[in-house]
């Protein structure tokens, strides 16, 4: 894309996204957009460790659940605003990331992925069986007491839309800055060759931990926003291995280790999910999932470097190579 065109398209796209709730009033459509922003944000967070750090995590629902449950339980038990509960949830997610990361970063490749799946299942089981505190499988509903910004309660979907959009923008800028900073360079080195990186003074465990912790905090923040938008959480919806996989799939389909990949991946995956549900959900049990899975396989086969590689020809050469780098197809 030419810089002049880019200068025009980016502000225009921002204006369109900001104006959508003014023209689209159907809550369902706004909710779909909300989910796109949410998954894009989670994808950007996951990408820090899974993409830039090449540590395949399949347990990120742990952090989503910690953020969601902490903020909701703070409201239910202490009547504290989710702004306090949200910060507490993010802090707890950071602690959980350290606890998971310390033993798991000794493992490499598939063993790390297996260990993260295990940590996700442990969290889901704990939430299911701590019935006195979390209501177990019944979940925790949030009663609606009218519009109250302090408690993130709105009768319209538009404020949630803007909240998710703001979080996405903030996380996008953080990741963009991190990509160019020392820690980003070190992560790239770790992804390429851990032993060589160590010999150049890179404390690989520490670098991975920074990425993991930041990634956990971002996904926890998403959990908070999700809980107050939907108004109900239970272990299967916020702590399932399916959610962890979906976060990873968003990034893999969009373009792993790239800045825009998770955003594009979220648009495609969320829309694909909703469209297959809409048109095939009632036709035959599981038909929507069969089509979803088939389309996913086709996309991955056609564009193994992620859908973002469609745009390679519009980007400067060095930027385009980053897509190939992250997938190791340019060696």
């Amino acid at each position: 894309m030419r810089p002049k065109t880019q200068r025009f398209i980016v502000p225009a796209a921002i204006l369109v996204v900001l104006a959508i709730p003014l023209f689209v009033t159907v809550p369902y459509y706004l909710h779909i957009m909300f989910m796109v922003f949410l998954f894009a944000t989670m994808g950007l967070g996951w990408n820090l460790i899974g993409g830039y750090g090449a540590q395949l995590s399949l347990g990120h629902s742990v952090f989503f659940a910690i953020g969601a449950y902490t903020a909701v339980l703070f409201v239910v038990y202490k009547r504290l605003t989710p702004f306090v509960g949200g910060v507490a949830g993010m802090a707890l997610a950071v602690v959980a990331a350290v606890i998971i990361g310390l033993p798991c970063f000794r493992l490499r490749g598939p063993y790390f992925a297996l260990a993260t799946i295990a940590s996700g299942e442990i969290t889901r089981t704990l939430l299911l069986h701590s019935k006195d505190f979390t209501a177990g499988a019944n979940g925790v509903p949030l009663a609606f007491h009218g519009n109250d910004p302090l408690f993130l309660q709105f009768s319209s979907k538009a404020p949630y839309y803007y909240l998710a959009l703001f979080l996405l923008a903030a996380v996008f800028m953080i990741v963009r800055t991190m990509e160019r900073a020392k820690v980003g360079r070190y992560l790239a080195a770790v992804r390429e060759d851990q032993d060589a990186a160590e010999s150049l003074g890179v404390k690989t465990a520490w670098v991975k931990m920074i990425a993991f912790v930041l990634s956990a905090a971002i996904v926890a923040a998403c959990g908070v926003i999700y809980a107050f938008t939907v108004g109900y959480i239970d272990p299967d919806s916020v702590a399932s291995v399916n959610l962890s996989i979906e976060i990873a799939v968003v990034v893999i389909v969009g373009g792993i280790g790239t800045l825009w990949g998770p955003v594009l991946g979220a648009v495609v995956i969320v829309l694909l999910t909703e469209l297959t549900n809409m048109f095939l959900g009632g036709v035959r049990a599981g038909a929507n999932l069969v089509l979803y899975g088939t389309l996913l396989i086709v996309v991955i086969l056609l564009k193994p470097n992620g859908l973002i590689s469609f745009f390679d020809k519009f980007r400067p050469k060095q930027e385009a190579e980053k897509t190939q780098v992250a997938h190791g197809t340019h060696a």
């Binding site: 900073a181 080195a189 003074g201």
Partner: protein, 244 residues
Amino acid sequence: MEPMLKVTDLKKSFGGVHALKDVSLQLEGGEILGLIGPNGSGKSTLVNTIAGLYRPDGGTVLLEGADVTAQAPAAMARHGIARTFQSSRPFLNLSVLENVTVAALLHTRHTAEAEAVAVECIAMTGLKSSMHLKSSSLPVEKRKRLDLCRALALKPKLIMLDECLAGLNPHEMEDGLELVRTINRSGISVIFIEHVMKAVVALCHRVVVLNQGELLAEGAPEVVMADEKVITAYLGEGYKRACN
């Protein structure tokens, strides 16, 4: 004055294989020490153990008198010990500049500062024309230079070069030797592992010979190469005849 590096009774075993048996050596500041021996004699194990990649089973490593035994590779780099690998290991999907910048970031958190240091090192090692190329596209000789360049960007006191001339043609080898001399003249001590005896003799102030994990001989290159034990265990009678 403390020696730059003092290794005492270093031991390392892999299962039943004793790769290093009480190896001791010393390297003075500004010295180039050749480390030679047949394949499997323990040269690379010694370098890996000094650099912290392997944990020794016994013995000590002192750097300018400070005990740095069994510290992690990242800590060793911070102490001023840099190394290259036997098979060159650049970050293949990063450019030459990005590769060297990673090393230069050891002393600063500002990427612009690190890039400036990286550019200096790249110029010094003759890689300027390849600065923006991906290291995967470099030929063997340039990959070896890149290894050396990254080590240099760490601003080390000591560089351990593990067969950095392997696979090079005679002309490239000459250039490589000159580069090592230039690095040494800037005050950096060097441990030079090599099988090309001509290069060892031309470059090293002193030579240590390892055989089956043990120190076999030590001294000036000409003296060591004439040692019967070294000829029998490593160089062979052919080398002796060629010298005569």
